[in-house]
Amino acid sequence: MNGKHVVAEIIVVTSGKGGVGKTTTSAAFATGLAQRGNRTVVIDFDVGLRNLDLIMGCERRVVYDFVNVINGDATLRQALIKDKRYDNLFILPASQTRDKDSLDKEAVGRILNELKQEFDYIVCDSPAGIERGAFLAMYYADSAIVVTNPEVSSVRDSDRILGILSSKSKRAEEGSEHIKEHLLLTRYSPTRVERGEMLSVNDVLDILSVPLLGVIPESQAVLRASNSGTPVIVDSESDAGQAYTDAVARFLGEDRPHRFIENTKPSLLKRLFTKKREGVSA
């Protein structure tokens, strides 16, 4: 604990819809918080479909998992995997068990409380859907990052998730202060927005009315990062990496202008010469 936080903050990364970038965001965000000197743990809540370990590049070091800790088969200390890049970053992998009910509300609360003693930020990577895993990932949250693609099904599911956050979470049940909501728009293509083929940032904000934390452009850097098991935020040359760095800074209270929203309109010649470097910001 570096003393920055008296009380640790629990952040859920959620979306409802699958494949919009929750795990990419959880990995990038947790790494970004650690880069800024915060003791951070990122937890995979997707029981049965573990993937955060691959995105963080620690899949071969998984010995114990979240369910082992809940069942008392392992201690937290044994299950937490220290990140190979940042020594203040830890990963708690999900179990590959097929028993979906292995997570229990009280046990999850107990483990989160234990983690709160050690960490500044606890990032919960929610599974898709609105079932048990997704519910438990958001239940204890202090703030939520709702990951949305500029696409109809994703926006609709995000609205559903926002409704659930404000009615079914612990904070809602206790009637205490609301979960702080943040919108993260991912896979954004300014070129397609300009052509009227894609919902714009403002369209999505009009519909969801949640404060915008950041816009992550559609980028080849994301696949490149997952191929190598490196959170995309580590690739500080890439547009997506920089967009995540900005989002983390905003989350921590910094005021940063939004980038990668406007189409930069390179000339045809420039476009021809920069084709090879796509995914790397100009």
Binding site: E151, V155, R156, D159, V193, G196, E197, L199, D203, I207
Partner: protein, 95 residues
């Protein structure tokens, strides 16, 4: 050649506008039907019965069964329908 022309033509495909319109309609509909709104309708119904009972000498328990709430959505607008049936014998002049 046609592709080349297509490339240079400033063609505004309106599909994003259509997406936004469809989303606004479905999401406002779903918000009304979500659990929060269901609670809102129930509490509104309860309060309305109380208001009626304040002015008319009625049996609130009986009347509650005769208050019907209906939410319908037609193209472009929503209708909140409130139907209260008061049995003749229960209606006594206002206090």
């Amino acid at each position: 050649m046609r592709n080349l022309l297509k490339y240079f033509r400033k063609d505004k495909n309106p599909s994003a506008a259509l997406a936004k319109e469809r989303l606004q309609i479905i999401i406002s509909h779903e918000r009304i039907h979500s659990s929060n709104r269901a609670n809102l309708l129930t509490s509104m119904q309860k309060e309305l019965v109380e208001v009626i009972a304040r002015h008319l000498n009625i049996d609130t328990h009986k009347v509650r069964e005769q208050v019907k709430f209906d939410f319908a959505q037609n193209d472009g607008h929503s209708v909140l329908e409130l139907n209260i049936t008061l049995p003749d014998e229960d209606i006594v002049a206002a206090r």
